[in-house]
Each structure stands twice: as structure tokens, then as C-alpha cells.
Subunit: 201 residues, 2 copies
Amino acid sequence: MPKIVDHDLRREQIVQAMTEIIIRDGFEAVTMREIAAEAGYAHGAIARYFPNKRTLLMAAFQTLHQGLHERVVNDTRGLRGLTAIEAICRQTFPFGDAGRREAKVVVAFWDRASHDEEFSTIHRENAIRWRGLFRTHLDEAKDDLGVQADWDTAPIVDQMSTQTLGWNLLAAVAPDLATDEIMDRALTAMLSGIRVLRAAK
Amino acid sequence: MPKIVDHDLRREQIVQAMTEIIIRDGFEAVTMREIAAEAGYAHGAIARYFPNKRTLLMAAFQTLHQGLHERVVNDTRGLRGLTAIEAICRQTFPFGDAGRREAKVVVAFWDRASHDEEFSTIHRENAIRWRGLFRTHLDEAKDDLGVQADWDTAPIVDQMSTQTLGWNLLAAVAPDLATDEIMDRALTAMLSGIRVLRAAK
């Protein structure tokens, strides 16, 4: 009888091995041989699923992004306005050891995305999707706070998006400047800043 | 008579060639051979100044950072408070074609910095220096706006720093989301947000 191979499981294990190496040594240092060793497979077995490092980085990023997306959907269920925004940021800011680890994969992906069209398209689409989510909940916050419709949410969406990117970068490069305590304080200040906008009207 | 070689000029030309290639094709694609061709030197001439890609990326980043620093010193001369902060952000946000080009070098540097101790130390030191500058001018802004001393500038410094990082990333990866117009609007909103903090007191 032929051996039954669970291809999805293998794919997942290979992506996991790639992710671990990026976190430990960086994307540039990754070799297909090292991924095979880390995953416990023969070199040929890797190439069967992923022809090169590039496709593996793409898969690692998308696995991570999919996990993030699911956690956000789960955590924002039934929430609206600033409460929903806080729940999103608790996931998209790199809180905890897991967040700081994942940030390294994200930064490796960004570097590729700055000169690889397929990667930059994915980044762009993700960015637009997250901004849409922020915008929706900011519109709810406007209703909740009783702010007039002339209050422009666009620059606030920009500020939230760029802060999210910035925290991930800091977490990957200078984690002592992006501790949970520091991010917690910044997130609270960001949300109060929006509440204050109303008070100023 | 021996030929007189201007080593500083050569070094500068090589760094310039490296910078152009990173902007065009990304750091991963750079080869020492390509840099030599771009700079118009023999392969051996490059290695004499820079033993490898890594030292060249470091030099390219530091040249860029030095230029930024000089422009900021120049533009903030005699300014204080929020006016000084706006002048800084006009340089540190990736405005203009030059800003969007430089952002690609910055992102390549960041990716290395996430797993190279010497690079991450430089990033950390720069980050701390910029934050110090923001903090000084925010303290002046507090005086200017007549805000009480209990107003905590730390989270605002964090927000400014992370937004600066985020805009550079967006400019490198999705430049249509970081046009001058969009960044201008976000910068204005950020500064009004600080002014509003006073009104809310």
C-alpha cells in the first residue's frame, strides 16, 4: 500500500520551519537546505511544495496574516466604535512575545514588497482592507460620540495605519522601545485623542 | 608621477551607485559586480573600499541619514514647539520623489536591522535621538500652549515616531497611499490633535 501523505500538514510544517528561521536568523540567511533540516524533511521534499525562498516567504506571511485576520474577526464580534478599534489594535500592534516574533516576518515581507510587484500588491490590498475596517469603526465612533459629520476620519485612519506599521517595525528592530507597557500607553493616548476631538467641538 | 586618487570621491560614487541599485532592484538583487558597473569601476576597486554588500548598505544608510540630519538642523534653526516639530516631519516623512526613493533604502536597512546587531544598534540610537528631539519640542509646545505639566508627552513622542516609520514604509511599498497630499493632511491633523489637547484641558 502506498504511504498516505498529508500534504497540507507537510506544507504547514515547512512554512512553520521557514518562519522559525526568519525569526532567528533573518530571511537573507535562509537556505532551502536549512528549511529542510528544520522541518525534518529531505531537501527534495521542500522544493515539491515551494520552488524557492520567495514563495515560502509569501506563504509564511499569508499564514501569519490569516491568523491575525481570524483573531481580529473573533475579538471584534459584537463590538463597535472605539471599543472595536481598541480590540483591533490589541491584535495588530505587536503585543507579547508572539507579536514581537511575528513582526520579524512582517518586516522581511515589507523589504521584499518594496521591489517585488506581487508582494507589494498583497501589501497594498491588506493595507486597504485594514484601513476600511478602521474607517467603519471610526464612523461608528463619530455617531457614538455625537460628532458632526464634518469631522474628517481620513487623517485619523492614516495615523492609525502608520502607527500600526511603525510599532511592528520597532518591535522587530528595537523591541525595548516597543514593550507591551509602552504600546499600551500609546494606544490609550491614541483613543483618548479621538475622544478629545469631540470635547473640542 | 603616480595618479592622484580622490578616495573620498570614489567612496561617495560607490555609495551612490549602491543606493541607485537598491532603489531600482532592491538590496537582495545587488551584486558587487553590478555596483562596479553602475559606478564605472573595476570590481576590485569596490572591494578595496567596501569588503561586502553589508558594509555598503550601512554606508548608504548613514549617508542618507546624515543628509536628513543636516536638513533638519538647518530647517529648525530658530524654531521651537509645534513649528519645529512640523519642520522636522516635513523632512522625516518621505515627501517628494526624493523622499519616496530614500524610503526604499531605509526599508532595506530595517530588514537587516531586525537580525543584525550592529545595524539594530544604529537604528536604536537614531530612534532615541529623534525621540529626544520630538520630546524637547513637545515640552516647548506645552509651554507655548500653556498646558499643565501633568500632560504626558511620552505617548505623543511614540505616536510621532511610529507614524514617521510607518510613512516611510508605506512610501516604499505602496506609494499611492503615501502621496504628499495624504501625508500633508495627516501631519496637519497630528499637529491640530496636539493643539486640541490644550483646548480640552
